[in-house]
Amino acid sequence: MIAPTDVSPALQILLLAVLVVPALGAVVVALLPARFDRGARLVATGFAAVAFVAAALLALPSSRDSGWVAYTPTDAVPVVPWAEVDLSWVPSLGIRFHIGVDGVSYPLVVLTGLLTLLCCAYTVWKVPSGGSGRTLAALLLVLEVGILGTFLALDLVLFFVFFEVVLLPMYAVIAGWGGPERRRAARKFVLYTLFGSVLLLLGVFTVVVAAGTGDLMALAGGYGLSRTTQCVAFALFAVAFAVKAPLWPLHTWLPDAHTEAPTVGSVVLAGVLLKMGTYGLIRVGVGVAPEGAAWAAPVLGVLAAAAIIAGSLVCLRQTELKRLIAYSSVGHMGFVLLGTATLTVTGVQAALIGNVAHGLITGLLFFLAGAIKDRAHTGDLAGLGGLRETAPRLAGVLGFAAIASLGLPGLAGFWGEAFAVVAAVQRGGPLWCTLAVVAAVGGALTATYFLRLLRRVTHGPATQAVAAFPAVSRAEWLAWTPLILLTLVVGLVPALVLAAAADPVAALTGALR
């Protein structure tokens, strides 16, 4: 029934389930009456759990094990996914419902499933003020559908459709459950990101019209598009994804959105929503328009290095906890983009692992920031202090997350940053070596501001705000533990993320050689 036939039906059903289960969950949860608010949140967690399991199971060995290794540079279909579903949807607009998973998307798919599950579980325990808990849970599930769809899409127009799905739900999460300035922040978020996605729409159709197909697998490697088309398309894609990622100087929506968003919103936003930008740049930007990517790489590299420095410098001056973490995301995404911009296998792999690591660590950091703000009722660094005295465990976890984020070897954050720099050096030439040095300096600054954060928050005399902190609840431990463990595991065994990505990445970047 579902083409292509060499993928086992079980995997195809699993693949569909990854999208259908959360969508169904969102509908069910939204329709439950207000009386069952807590019940609805539990149901949402159940759906998220099923989706997570289904996503994790996608790595089951398929009959295609040998398929995707059989790559030759001249092959029209260089990247063959493990599992795929290909259905006709809107032929008039050239949209096929073509989804699949491979080594590049799999880690992000699992990460999305995990973070949504943790966030849903977190809402069972605590609903931020502003609206009903079940609506929030339903919106989280809708967000999951959009994000997973973006990672899974193998059709360019379908990719765009899923890219758009997340806009309004995220707006609603920020505007409905956020802080005092939520409306403005939410509006800024939605307008900025819509600006990005309309450029994506233009880029998508530039490619689809020129190539006559939207199949990402067929398009990978350029598909013989003319250099001009590729440059135009890449320019549109790059700006579109740079808004989403966000890349300095298009990042200004991010700090506001993060500061005002509720904890779960921040976690999803930083953890996986931003990754749609960096993933899109690798899969769509570099994949579809490699010549355009090569043409624009120096600019991207310079902007990425600028983002690293700018993010770090701004962080040094931040006085608000969530804002600081948000700006640190700008710096980390700078490393990811630097890795991507080198267009080497090492660089793109560094970008992929940087993506996953940032999702884990920043997700954890935002959970912690939320926990601290909920208890202290302030995120002002001046009002916090001495957390070590009153809440040693919370302080400990915060210390762990901060150190992981600054890139201590052995923890997840190290690999992405270090190898982005290595890739830039490998790329050679005065420009890339300079960028590598600048990025390394930025890395050092990252350490500076995270240590400053720790000094301000955990050390020193306990302030009034942190005096009577309730202990860390079981629900919070439940949400944090998987992230803590995975940060350690990915840090120690980065091959977990990269093992399956080598060949697809080689195929994506191979077109340039």
Partner: protein
């Protein structure tokens, strides 16, 4: 000389005109049952439209015909009938309370539907203009038709609309006459660029026809009548103006621009229309005015597709289909949330309305999201995708860029309204919230219309191919 008339091809017209007559007779003889008669007639029109075999034609001279059955004509007729039924449903509470004379109201609305049917099937410029006039003429009356004079707004709106419309018809007729003088063609299929010394004359004729029709879709700078008229009219009539009447204008424009080279003129109109519409909508504080300006802007997107000529017509039709559905939902919700006969009110009146009336709030969010071209309004998303895809495909990349940027501007006011629906209600002043609730509880008929329209929109949102298939047959 007698001419063979293919009565089967004319069935939809017979059904529509028969409906109008039936309503008139029902009013004169029994004095009631206007509404059921009109609704049944509308359904019959839709059924006839789907039943008539494609590619039949009548009133032919040679191989040029004045009445041509095409797949898109059938779809548009179904849409006209559906919109008429929908607007009748929206007006039901007001008619039941006797705020407007029910017989006349239903008669005029079904007359307008008949005009719409003619526009859909017209094969020559004169039939097209006559159809368009039949579509709008009853609306002049409907805009001001009220038993109780609330304010002068209705009457002045009707007069503005009437004057502008008459002028625009005159311009379109002049254009048609010039075209005829230059090329000797009135049948749409025979329209050509003039040649030789008559070429400039033909271009002027084509431009005048386009300008005349552009009035009907309220394209900037020919839009000034729209916001005042929409706001002064009863909300259901405003709904009809911004859906059926606009659809008629789009069909007429499409008939001309796909055959004559008017690309630059239409492109200029499109850019002005969407940009001005969106920018002015940003500053509106009244609900219906905001919807009116947004509807001006939306017409700009359709015009953009039409600027690409024949290549963009299918996208323009598709956009129009999705747009009228979304617009009907939006106006339907406004009608549902207001007492019968009330105008659209200020935006502030809708604060927290989504919390009181959950389903109506959700429907309005669906409509606004669709108009902004974002999920969950998938219908609107695919409409935008169709337009942008068609423009880039036809080499009008820069216009696609303008459309895209305008979508960003438009989102600013759509989210403002949507957010307002769920904002915390302000502490009630003198108004008892319970009284307010009772006064503003959505009425059953109205909410049924909204629910049906929303259901159709959601289904088409997931299966937009159905619309494209229906358009191409």
């Amino acid at each position: 000389m007698t001419q063979a008339v293919n009565h089967v091809a004319l069935l939809p017209l017979y059904a529509a005109a028969g409906t109008a007559l039936l309503v008139l007779v029902a009013d004169l003889v029994v004095g009631r049952f206007h509404l059921p008669a009109a609704v049944l007639g509308g359904l019959a029109t839709a059924v006839c439209a789907t039943a008539v075999p494609d590619h039949t034609a009548t009133f032919c001279s040679g191989d040029l015909c004045s009445w041509i059955v095409t797949p898109h004509a059938a779809l548009m007729t179904v849409l006209f009938a559906g919109l008429t039924i929908g607007v009748l449903g929206l007006s039901a509470p007001a008619l039941r309370q006797g705020l407007a004379p029910a017989g006349e109201y239903c008669f005029l609305l079904t007359c307008a539907m008949t005009g719409g049917v003619v526009v859909a099937y017209a094969g020559d410029l004169i039939s097209l203009i006559v159809g368009l006039e039949t579509l709008t003429l009853p609306l002049y009356v409907l805009v001001g038709l009220r038993r109780i004079r609330v304010s002068a707004a209705g009457a002045s709106a009707a007069v503005t609309f009437f004057l502008v419309s008459v002028v625009s018809t005159a311009i379109a007729l002049l254009g048609a006459a010039l075209l005829y003088a230059a090329t000797g063609a009135l049948h749409l299929d025979a329209l050509t660029e003039g040649s030789g010394v008559y070429a400039p004359l033909a271009s002027v004729g084509a431009a005048l026809v386009v300008v005349g029709f552009a009035f009907k879709v309220a394209a900037v700078p020919l839009h000034a009548w729209a916001p005042a008229t929409y706001d002064g009219a009863p909300v259901p009539v405003a709904a009809y103006l911004s859906t059926a009447s606009k659809l008629g204008g789009v069909l007429a424009l499409a008939a001309v621009v796909q055959r004559l080279d008017t690309g630059p003129l239409v492109a200029v109109l499109a850019v002005l229309t969407m940009t001005v519409g969106n920018l002015v909508a940003l500053r509106q504080t009244r609900m219906v005015r905001l919807l009116a300006w947004s509807s001006v802007a939306q017409a700009g997107y359709i015009l953009a597709a039409l600027a690409a000529g024949a290549a963009g017509v299918e996208a323009a039709y598709a956009y129009a289909v999705f747009f009228v559905l979304l617009e009907l939902i939006a106006f339907g919700v406004v009608t549902a949330l207001r007492a019968p006969g009330e105008d659209g009110g200020d935006l502030e009146d809708y604060r927290g309305a989504g919390r009181r009336a959950r389903w109506m709030g959700a429907a309005l969010v669906l409509a606004l999201a669709g108009l902004a071209g974002l999920p969950p309004g998938f219908a609107g998303l695919f409409a935008k995708v169709a337009v942008v895809g068609a423009l880039i495909g036809a080499g009008w990349g820069w216009l696609a860029g303008v459309v895209a940027l305008n979508a960003v501007i438009a989102l600013a006011y759509y989210v403002r309204v949507a957010a307002l629906l769920y904002a915390a209600p302000q502490p009630a002043g003198v108004v008892d919230p319970e009284l307010l609730e009772r006064a503003t509880r959505p009425r059953v008929v109205v909410s049924r219309v909204v629910v049906v329209a929303a259901a159709v929109t959601i289904v088409l949102g997931f299966a937009p191919q159905a619309v494209f298939d229906a358009l191409t047959g």
